[in-house]
Symmetry: D2
Subunit: 283 residues, 4 copies
């Protein structure tokens, strides 16, 4: 059995901490109880941190506001790195003009707004628009009619050879203590299989999200990979992705991975965190 | 290049013909023009035939009525073998009582009606019903709210370890000359991946549907596998399944496989029909 | 927790028993201790039985001899249904002449010997033979040079569009109490992915093997599916396949599924045996 | 139909060119005829370049020597970025000591040599070594006995929960004009499936290899992503990976993608190069 380490003792060895959001900082009920102490400690110790999240449902500004409403002011919008930001960078670099069709809420469309692109929900695309659609983005599982708009998406992809971006690689996310909700990553896989195309996916465990956080932190402080630890509740995304990028990793047992399951899951997947802690709360 | 054979000359070599429905006998506009001549010829020559279809959206009686409405009276309900019939056989043999939850229209629920089972659309399941749900069946892509009911299905499968039956293995089906519609088989794959369970699938290319047709035909006439030919428009279902079951196969170019694509598709998949014909129309 | 049933009491309810071989009747050390009492009991009670196995490494006659050498004479060759027999039936029905290339030992080639076919190990195929190769069969993981012959197989399939048959769907099999060996099913999957073709697989959980056993038993005795129970140690092959075919199933804990893992595996896969027994030994 | 662009005119728009090796600079016969003119042109125009390759079979120094032997001196070892370098970085950062088991030639083991690690071919691991094996690396398809050592690898992974690194994501590579060879990426997928673990893969299309090249180029010259173009012959690795990383991409038709297939492959996969050129030769 792997030992459970004290969270504070572990992060004392690092200059920078990357946190996953859901299951680590917050859960379906609100903030993880006591997590504000962790951020106070980081500030007192002058350690830098980032929230590194597969959430493309709203902008970093909106995501930060949610934390502030819950009473956690330490997480400012410039501390949030979301997979939606990679979708935005892709569109900026690779799509010059035309319509960018999307599946998601109006709030998620933040990531595809730019001077020369015209974001349009799939549900609003008219036959006369089809030839001008130059990219398609899966942003959120909400904000559209699944049956109507997923069928429309499959048929759009039969007519147009365009890049398709999936801005959240998760298959599902927790909704309450018992229930999950199908995430846009799971929906995108279904459409990808039926359309027979290869989509471009952004989000943990892919290293591009870690790279973005790494570049941004290095603009602020002089650190290298051994100075950074990634904290997450999910082996397949946070821990696998952090390991692959060359970071040390902490698995916390406050979310997706239950205390009784950690050892079995590590052994059966071969995804091995550097440390295991009960939670990310500094006590 | 493989040669295109004359359909009539080919079926003259067999005593029994199995037909796929969509793309062979009918298409999105109605009957394949001239197909009634084929069934008149079969009758005149006293050849037996079956429609072997992955369609579980309605009962054989309803499916036959549709043909009669289009003017094709030769296809009686006892000539139709649908994947829904295997779902029904499974439930009869393996589920004794309780609620059978389903996704599909009321017409598709035909296949789960039996004296001791209580069919209930997923959308109508109440929390108090959950402990009595003893099986779940994917029947049709219509008749339910995808977002609400697929999420409800995932969470039902997190609470209950029950058999899940997929009564149609197709991922998509043609809607018009240009458009397709996501089929219940594609939806089921998404739910299977997210729930992490292994579903039971009935339908071509699986041999169980061919076996059912084979058993029924042998109750009527004394034939063996070399006496039967399977006619289909799709390599992956009709031809692969027919070949594997040991039947000779005819690929027709009136549906899913276009005349210009047949050779490429055969070479790239390695699924090889015994014959290729322009259509199943006897001229 | 599901209850552990007494094996004898369970089989008393059935007229026919289908047994998986490895992990049920025998293991890496020889016979499962006491299993001869089970076959004596079946004989005394006049219950019919079959061994239903994914083993295509040798003929039923050879497989039966192995049992006799270990002192179990009840298992005669006509009681053994192997996935190799389906490969043989396929070739008889669907391949008229020419060379059938194979991967496996000389003993496994039993299944492709027939009057008009010429079996040839992949390693012995000369360039001048290539145009005459009309089918390829994966029979056993032994008897060939993996590196040389798997590369040769991939390139053969790039030149020739021919049916490829996999006569054993297993990925691995137990070698000692601790070690497994990669099985020919696992090797075939690698070649299938690299060649980009669709292979034809015979073996549990596919229903065609159950169908063959069912047809043979019905030539002997008048039974229907509810009269038969399938006994196996592997959820994914024996139990899933038995369930799907409409048989009742018994999971025994003497092989692949350890007593401590059964509940977790059933819940996580959703593959549910009708009964669980410690072993197939009648005590 | 997409137009075929002139290679020289396209690269004139960029400051830096990334080249795939096989199918672009060299092929099974040696150098792509005329390719030396391209590197002379880059030098004359003072454009920077890198070879970005999934080849982990030997060190950059050895790879460069091969080019020099063929008469191409422009490609120095510091211009070669290989997926093996990422494996090396991973081990440096994440594995402190002990044995690193590997599959590959002695030349490929270059990437796992470091002061505190002990590289050992899987074939040389003794039972007493097993507890000291702290990582496993797939480097090359040559240099080991596939049957013996792949079985040994599967059983090693059943005993030890350790990180497994795949230093080449390719499934196959061209050997002659007609033949391919199974690559170590394809072999690793088989072992991963059988062992049921999740391996760490380095190589195109994954963005980490592009990131490494991007970091190195930025230590030399001040460029951003729009200044760089990636040249490759394979849609799934070079073009998908380049696109995802935010680079413009050139598909050349001198390797994996044949002139007659480019349009079909682009449409069927949805992977779209910025340009298509006949080859990477400046004429």
């Amino acid at each position: 059995m792997r030992e459970i380490s004290d969270f504070k003792s572990v992060i004392d060895q690092y200059k920078v901490v990357f946190f996953d959001a859901f299951g680590v900082v917050k859960n379906y009920k609100g903030l993880v109880p006591g997590i504000e102490k962790t951020f106070a400690y980081l500030e007192a110790e002058k350690k830098e941190f980032y929230i590194v999240t597969n959430d493309a449902s709203r902008s970093p500004v909106h995501l930060a506001e949610k934390y502030h409403q819950m009473g956690l002011n330490a997480i400012t919008h410039d501390r949030i790195i979301s997979s939606g930001m990679l979708a935005k960078e892709y569109l900026d670099l690779k799509v010059d003009d035309g319509i960018v069709a999307y599946l998601g809420t109006r709030a998620s469309a933040h990531y595809i707004e730019s001077s020369d692109l015209h974001p349009l929900p799939v549900g609003s695309i008219k036959p006369s628009d089809i030839d001008n659609v130059n990219a398609l983005v899966f942003l959120d599982d909400e904000g559209f009619d699944w049956c109507r708009d997923l069928n429309k998406t499959v048929n759009l992809l039969r007519r147009r050879t365009i890049p398709v971006i999936v801005a959240n690689t998760d298959d599902a996310y927790p909704l309450t203590i018992n229930d999950v909700s199908i995430a846009v990553g799971g929906i995108a896989t279904m459409v990808e299989n039926i359309a027979g195309k290869e989509f471009i996916r952004f989000g943990k465990p892919d290293s591009q999200l870690f790279m973005l956080a790494y570049e941004l932190i290095r603009e602020k402080v002089r650190v290298t990979k051994p100075d950074i630890v990634m904290v997450g509740d999910t082996l397949h995304t946070d821990i696998l992705g952090g390991n692959k990028f060359g970071l040390d990793t902490i698995l916390v047992l406050s979310g997706n991975t239950l205390p009784g399951d950690a050892e079995t899951k590590i052994t059966s997947t071969g995804i091995i965190p550097t440390y295991i802690c009960a939670s990310a709360v500094v006590v």
